[in-house]
């Protein structure tokens, strides 16, 4: 058991340290085999839809230089299963839980968010940036008006839970999208999701992913995530930001905190090393010991810049 002294606050929700898992790379039954989930700042669960989704055909994953391209397509057993199984299990284990919400249509998101009203979820993360579904996801997150309308509707549906909107990096100006989400009532922003990518098998000449394209993540996208967090922090000095993209050790986590994030999430790196989120949380504790000014800001719910 580790004692964490360097906490953070994200949109009013206290985290015992700034490290969380990223959606789609953490599953309660899998990840809890490797570390104590109560020792993380938070865990973000897989995108959950109103009914079970079967996802995309396989293969769904392809390696790329210092990264991975995935096209899982949000396969998940649906909100009712989530409320009966994963969420109570994680809360019983002492985790702070961010529930990631997926949908094809605005109505899908509303249904899920309604069911999460008065649930023990600590925060909601609205996935408006998944490149792996034909409808919903990225098509919402790239259009400020659609996004504004969606977040406004979700806010009406569920006033209790803090929500964060997971914005895509592949837009002309991420600050416009970020403003649309916060103007509509998003309490925080999760930046960034994966970028569209693909790989081709040179023996067959065909794409490796059955879905042709997928979302690129892992260390390869670190500089892109950082630049987006920096830009949005500059445009929105007071909005809580969770920095995501390519974090693979405590130093890269620290880069996001210096870019202005309140906290961070670890995605692909947890797939390559199941204990990585926990190890990074422990190592970050030491790095923050050495940086009392940054640690004090985070603990007060403020950010470095």
């Amino acid at each position: 058991m580790t004692t964490y002294t360097h906490s953070t606050i994200v949109a009013g929700i206290p985290w015992k340290n700034p490290v969380a898992t990223a959606s789609g790379t953490f599953l309660a039954e899998a990840s809890t085999q490797y570390y104590d989930v109560s020792e993380l700042g938070a865990v973000t669960t897989k995108g959950v839809s109103p009914i079970p989704w079967e996802g995309n055909p396989s293969p769904r994953t392809a390696e790329s230089p210092s990264g991975t391209v995935n096209s899982v397509g949000l396969q998940n057993p649906g909100i009712d299963h989530y409320l009966a199984n994963d969420l109570p299990q994680l809360k019983q284990l002492g985790a702070t839980v961010i529930t990631n919400v997926a949908g094809h249509t605005p109505d899908d998101y509303i249904q899920v968010v309604k069911k999460l009203d008065n649930s023990p979820a600590d925060m909601l993360e609205i996935n408006v940036s998944c490149p792996n579904v034909n409808a919903g996801g990225l098509s919402i997150g790239t259009d400020p008006t659609t996004l504004y309308n969606l977040i406004t509707d979700l806010r009406k549906t569920n006033q209790q839970t803090n929500s964060s909107s997971n914005s895509p990096p592949t837009v002309t100006d991420i600050t416009t999208i970020a403003k649309a989400a916060t103007d509509a009532g998003a309490d925080a922003l999760s930046l960034i999701n994966t970028l569209i990518g693909m790989r081709i098998n040179t023996t067959t000449g065909q794409p490796i992913l059955a879905n042709t394209t997928g979302g690129l993540s892992g260390p390869a996208i670190l500089p892109i995530g950082l630049a987006n967090v920096w830009k949005v922090r500059t445009a929105l000095p007071h909005t809580p930001i969770i920095g995501i993209g390519g974090i693979h050790n405590a130093h890269t986590a620290l880069e996001y905190l210096y870019a202005g994030a309140n906290a961070i999430e670890i995605g692909a790196t947890a797939l390559l090393n199941p204990q990585a989120p926990h190890t990074i949380a422990q190592e970050l504790e030491t790095l923050l010991d050495q940086r009392p000014a940054l640690a004090a800001k985070l603990a007060a719910g403020e950010t470095w810049r």
């Binding site: 599953l27 085999q33 104590d36 199941p274």
Partner: protein, 269 residues
């Protein structure tokens, strides 16, 4: 003064059993079994003691641009060491082929929620093709220790019969065929693998999907229980990413934690 956080006291029954994480293990031996087929012996007491046939380990390159895990079926155990047998097919396996005794490699595992079930007494027929043979070697090793079973192995190779001598140490009833001669179905149909019709027949198969489908159909017509070890590209190997699915009668199913061994009747061929 920053607020202190400690871990909350929790219901111990809700706490899952912890598994060893990614770790660095010593390379004990590297042996070429054919031109591009290598047997790697690694020292890891946990895997050697707990791996069940059909389970696999993840190996990782030392190359920071190639981060993804590479899955390989456990091919045998001995004391606190275990072996895998792999073909050089891409850059990761090429790097693994250059390992030497005394080097180290990162691994995770053993992984795989469902292994071959060897509880049934009686006749076992192991049908393997290509690089599907290694998990069957381990199944044969375990079956050899069970006096109430009799194992016949039918192995199909592209060319070099790289695993015959290893299989023969576990069962004298080893038959093999190369692509130039035909396929494992040719052998299946010429053999009498179930000499005691009153004994239950269990088939374990691993190899290319069309081969396993043909073996499944053969099992259906011979009233045999058939377990297939499936392959899919994996993102993590421990159940977190949902990348490794195959279509089954239960929907898209993860091969890493729901498999890799499935009853052949549940696969949508």
């Amino acid at each position: 003064m920053p607020r202190e956080w400690t871990t909350a006291t929790r219901n111990p029954h809700a706490t899952p059993a912890r598994q060893p994480g990614r770790r660095t293990v010593p390379v004990i031996r590297v042996q070429a079994l054919a031109d591009t087929i290598i047997e790697l012996t690694l020292q890891d007491a946990h895997t050697a003691r707990t791996a069940r046939p059909g389970q696999f380990v993840m190996l990782y390159t030392h190359d920071q641009s190639r981060l993804m895990p590479r899955p390989f079926g456990v091919a045998g155990t001995n004391g606190d060491t275990f072996t895998i047998i792999f073909a050089i097919v891409g850059e990761g396996t090429r790097q693994f082929s250059t390992l030497r005794e005394g080097d180290t490699i990162d691994m995770l595992g053993p992984l795989g929620g469902q292994a071959f079930n060897l509880d049934q007494p009686g006749d076992y027929l192991l049908v393997g093709g290509g690089l599907g043979i290694p998990p069957l070697l381990y199944a044969a090793q375990r079956l050899a220790a069970k006096p109430d079973t009799r194992t016949t192995a039918i192995l199909g190779y592209r060319d070099t019969r790289y695993a015959d001598t290893r299989m023969q140490t576990h069962t004298p009833h080893t038959h093999s065929i190369t692509n130039a001669q035909g396929d494992v179905l040719t052998l299946l149909n010429t053999l009498e693998p179930n000499p005691n019709p009153d004994q239950p027949l269990t088939i374990l198969t691993c190899g290319p999907k069309p081969m396993m489908q043909a073996v499944h159909q053969w099992a259906q017509t011979h009233n045999a229980n058939c377990q297939t070890c499936m392959e899919q590209r994996m993102g993590c190997g421990y159940g977190a990413c949902v990348a490794c699915t195959i279509p089954t009668i239960h929907g898209n199913t993860k091969t890493c934690t729901e498999g890799p061994v499935f009853p052949s009747t549940t696969i949508i061929w």
